[in-house]
Symmetry: C2
Subunit: 657 residues, 2 copies
């Protein structure tokens, strides 16, 4: 400790005058900058811009002639007009292969996911036709594959079933699904148009990981029905693990059908093996991608030959061959069903959005291009609005299919167009082939698809990095698995918010010491070699000081002082004369915060300790001056750095820098 | 700009190796401290302690024998046992005078506030007897004066009237009042026992100022009824300014009673003059304090003599002489009224709490003693629970009476005991005297009391300091005045929360430059003399990086880089090679934040810019190491200060320090 020997010599009480900082021989001390009067309108415009237009969407429009602005505006709404101009045959080859691959993957998934949403198989296929087409014209992600996804299908199925029973009220049920899809689209488009896209950032990554994992398990559990061949009416309607386990192993286990189990198990094994192959050798990514379609073909052929359906193996049955019948007249535009659909639509729309935006961002950062979140939301919203009028239910970006799309070498959203055309042809000409497809195979396909949503690695990483994040993750996970999708979602949102509130209520504080041989002051908890300056207590407050934490901050600083004084008294060392508050991390302050500082100053005066501030930022300085705080404590008590403040408070100590 | 001449010479691309920082002649560069493994349990305990026990309530109990602990525990619940031991006759003199003064002020106010709550006059007096007595034993503030207050009376009156009409259903109405009072007490005590006192900090100072101001105007408007002599049944039930004005000047203006108006106006003038005298000369504080009682006595005498009540001057009438009849049996403990009372109780309890805690803190900081917020809540809760069983409605600390108490020289809570005994004697022996008291005088007293709640100075200061705070303040104010008390309250809470959320969604960022003649780097917006380092962009992020802002932060940093690069290109200056992120204000990071940094690193790699971090705090460093981030960007890319980072990135520039 280089300053040990100075400790007792500089303890005479000294008051700070401005001439102190002008002493000859003293190191150069730069004046703290007194801010000019703040311009309210400018400040307000800045806040508005950073909140809603942080991505600077009008940048390319600047200084352009009107006609060019019009073209740019059109391109902004339909990005296809921009990238379409440089589209070529080479890109198309990539898109064609990728489109065919994801089509082969999506057809069996669509049929399966329709069942999760308690809908007939054709609705899944419909949702893989219209929405991807519209997205291709309006979306800005090049890699996302659009269509129905497992989690949203489950969520929609659960929420709508709370209102109407799909078995007894199929038409009402369907109408509410379209209504919810319509409002999901409205929600998404509205968020985009009003540039409120940042709202989805409030669902934390950890909560999403937990929710997805829980939803995956719930979906897999639901598949036990098809997997074991248990008829729907004998299976529980609840989705929590306990009800499902009771249902499976309870009084209905005599419904188990061995032929079904054999088919399901063997194809699940096949799918998992292909999945493993694709994981081991990235070049063979197409193996797991086409495996589901192969399974469907093989199992359908097998059932058709063996007439296994007569032995209790349930089959998909006849699929409606019409192409996307109009459904605008089915949407509820009045009455209490409007409200129900609206509520369900908001929830489903938000979750679908979260998934699509996460996918868009992930792949954009892998290929280093920008996805405009708000524009993306308008695209997703439009496709769901149009979808709801053409017999589709909520579509969004699918994790698994987007990854396949990426690996198959897609270049643009044209791969989505290819996929949607393949789906169209399938609906028109190939649906009769699916009549004998066993439901069990769909269960196997869904199980093998959703287990990819359980992201162990991410969970382990979350545990390592942030325990509170892990609590949010597990809360959402267990909520979904043991209770229901809605409860899990609610837990995820509540914990995410609680975390934000905790942060702003209880900011961290630290005692600083001088790092030897430098003039740098750092947390003595982090740098044990840092030494305290005798007679001076340096406290850093690690947060903006707002009404929510101003009282705590004040009391915490006083507590540090009390503890330090008790400490010094026990060691018979000289008492604290200066309290320096390092303000660098204090990014903002409000009226309550300034009140707290005034009270702190008053309390310190009573204890004969002088309050000194180091490095307040511009915003904070503005407000301190507006409130007349510098005059209260003395303008020469505010310094540019902690080093300067210590120099002036306790000049002898500072010499060994 | 001292480093201008170096600008072009140091632009060769250089990679950072650890030997760079060991160069001879280079200034001393202190190693960033790699944190030891974090102890989860310790971390968790720390968070728990700072959240719930930040005031260290068990500190005095440490290392004490058991018997002493018991005494300390008892004293913690009943502070009177502690301060009572040093109580003496000198203190009692102060308390006696103060107690008599606030009693003279509270008796007319109590009668008036009962009317605000749509209750008979005795209930206000009851509420000034039992609650202050209990508070005196359990509370820790020495200056607060307990009893019914205007805002809570109005709030309770409005909320309960939404359920039952006090004119047609008086007994149901009264029962719901007691139920609400009971649950207000339960709410307050629960918050205290579970140490959730920090929840009231979520109502910002600005919002409270606006709400109080609005409530004051609403209350004053309500008094126009009594002031003009308009019978209750002809007056609007709405509290917003437009309805009241319509009611006053509309079809009922022929109800105006000139005798009433003369009495009310003259006494209001008298009260305002005394108030002015008290403000001008602090020694005459007792003049406005006893003026209300004098007005009551004079006006009562006048009415009694002149029989003005026969000319339409409405009078208080006979007051029940019983002392606080038990009311436990009147509280609803079941049915839907339980739920109604519960909801109203929570709202009224929270508002009462906010007022009491604000008063407690204000006076404690003026006399420099500590008020324990959580203990205070238990005291307030207990007094309201007991109050609800003895015919009292919600009592709390009164701003005006507490100020009088303080100025009259109160020493301890004994002044509350004196006041409550005076009120008891009044109820027992003096109520017949109030029979001829004109209601108009009560209106005058209330008007002159509540105008003190409109805190212009605070509003002006809020406008000066923080515009967003002012919006919250005005929102609450206008909400109360133009709509209703509940709406104003709702606006206040919503804006307060929105402010917190905005803060964590859109953190500020700044570009740093070097302050001449120092090695200090500061915001070039704040310090225009600071110079940028060629080839290096230094960005400071002013907030913890969480899921709610991680994406924005990443994109904002990239936008700074793009803008700077465009700038440099236009000036044909060398391009940016290093991006230094100053992490001092980044007090925490979560998994989403680390993801964002990984994406930032990837984007920068694509642009051939190196990412360098300066001064990450301990918590952040822990998490970065747990996530393996230092290995990703290179461990030698993390520095203790921006200066060190610049030294290593661009050594020539740094020489002139």
């Amino acid at each position: 400790m280089p300053d040990q020997d100075d400790k007792d010599s500089n303890m005479e009480t000294k008051s700070l005058t401005s001439s102190d900082s002008q002493r000859p021989n003293a190191p150069y001390i730069h004046k703290i900058s007194i801010p000019p009067k703040q311009d309210i309108l400018k400040e307000f415009k800045y806040t508005l811009k950073e909140t809603f237009f942080s991505d600077d969407p009008l940048r390319p429009f600047k200084d352009q002639p009107k006609s060019r602005k019009f073209v740019l505006g059109l391109q902004a709404i339909f990005p296809i007009l921009e990238w379409g101009r440089t589209y070529n045959i080479k890109k198309f080859r990539g898109d064609l292969i990728a489109g065919l691959t994801i089509a082969s993957l999506c057809i069996p998934q669509d049929i399966g996911y329709s069942k999760l949403a308690n809908l007939s198989p054709q609705y899944g296929l419909y949702s893989s036709f219209v929405p991807p087409l519209i997205y291709a014209f309006m979306g800005s992600s090049r890699d996302i594959a659009i269509g129905p996804v497992a989690v949203v299908s489950l969520l929609l199925g659960t929420l709508v079933r709370n209102e109407f029973d799909p078995d007894t009220d199929p038409s009402e049920y369907l109408r509410l699904v379209f209504t919810a899809t319509f409002f999901a689209g409205i929600t998404q488009a509205t968020l985009g148009v009003f540039r409120l896209g940042f709202l989805i950032d409030f669902l934390s990554h950890a909560a999403v990981v937990g929710f997805m994992g829980g939803a995956a398990i719930t979906i897999a559990l639901q598949q036990l029905k098809g997997f074991l061949g248990i008829p729907s009416k004998h299976f529980t309607k609840d989705t929590d693990i306990i009800s499902v386990m009771k249902s499976v192993f309870g009084d209905v286990h005599h419904w188990w059908n061995w032929q079904t189990i054999v088919i399901a198990t063997s194809f699940l094994a096949f799918l998992l093996v292909t999945k493993y192959i694709g994981k081991k050798n990235k070049k063979l990514f197409w193996v797991p991608a086409i495996a589901p379609l192969i399974s469907v073909i093989l199992s359908t052929f097998f059932v058709y030959i063996t007439h296994a359906n007569r032995d209790g193996v349930s089959i998909v049955g006849r699929i409606d061959k019409r192409i996307n019948p109009p459904s605008l007249d089915k949407i509820y535009f009045s009455g209490e069903n409007l409200l129900k659909g609206f509520k369900i639509g908001i929830v489903a729309g938000m979750i679908a959005l979260t998934e699509a935006v996460a996918i868009g961002r992930t792949f954009a950062s892998m290929k280093d291009y920008q996805v405009d979140g708000n524009k993306e939301m308008v695209a997703l919203g439009t496709m769901n609005i149009v979808g709801s009028m053409t017999s589709c239910y909520v579509a969004t970006g699918s994790f698994s299919r987007s990854a396949v799309n990426y690996m198959a070498g897609c270049q643009t959203a044209v791969s989505n167009i290819v996929m949607s055309i393949v789906v169209l042809l399938t609906v028109k000409f190939l649906t009769p082939l699916f009549e004998y497809t066993p439901n069990a195979i769909l269960s196997s396909i869904i199980i093998s698809a959703v287990i990819g949503l359980i992201d162990y690695d991410a969970m382990i990483l979350i545990w390592k990095i942030d325990k509170l994040d892990f609590v949010a993750c597990m809360g959402a996970f267990l909520g979904v698995v043991f209770k229901s999708v809605e409860i899990g979602l609610l837990i995820a949102v509540v914990i995410s918010f609680a975390k934000i509130l905790l942060q702003v209520t209880r900011p961290r504080t630290a005692i600083l010491g001088k790092i030897p041989m430098t003039s740098v002051y750092r947390n003595i908890g982090q740098y044990p070699e840092a030494t305290k300056v005798p007679g001076v207590l340096i406290v850093r407050v690690d947060s903006a000081i707002y009404f929510s934490n101003s009282n705590y901050t004040k009391e915490r600083i006083l507590r540090w002082l009390t503890e330090e004084e008790d400490n010094l008294k026990a060691k018979y060392e000289p008492r604290i004369q200066f309290l320096i508050v390092e303000m660098s991390p204090v990014t903002d302050i409000d009226t309550s915060g300034i009140h707290a500082f005034e009270e702190l100053h008053r309390s310190l005066q009573k204890r004969d300790v002088q309050l000194v501030l180091a490095n307040p930022g511009q915003v904070v300085l503005d407000k301190l001056y507006a409130a007349g705080f510098p005059e209260l404590i003395g303008e020469n008590k505010i310094f540019l750095t902690v080093g300067d403040a210590v120099h002036t408070c306790s000049p002898k100590i500072a010499h060994d820098v």
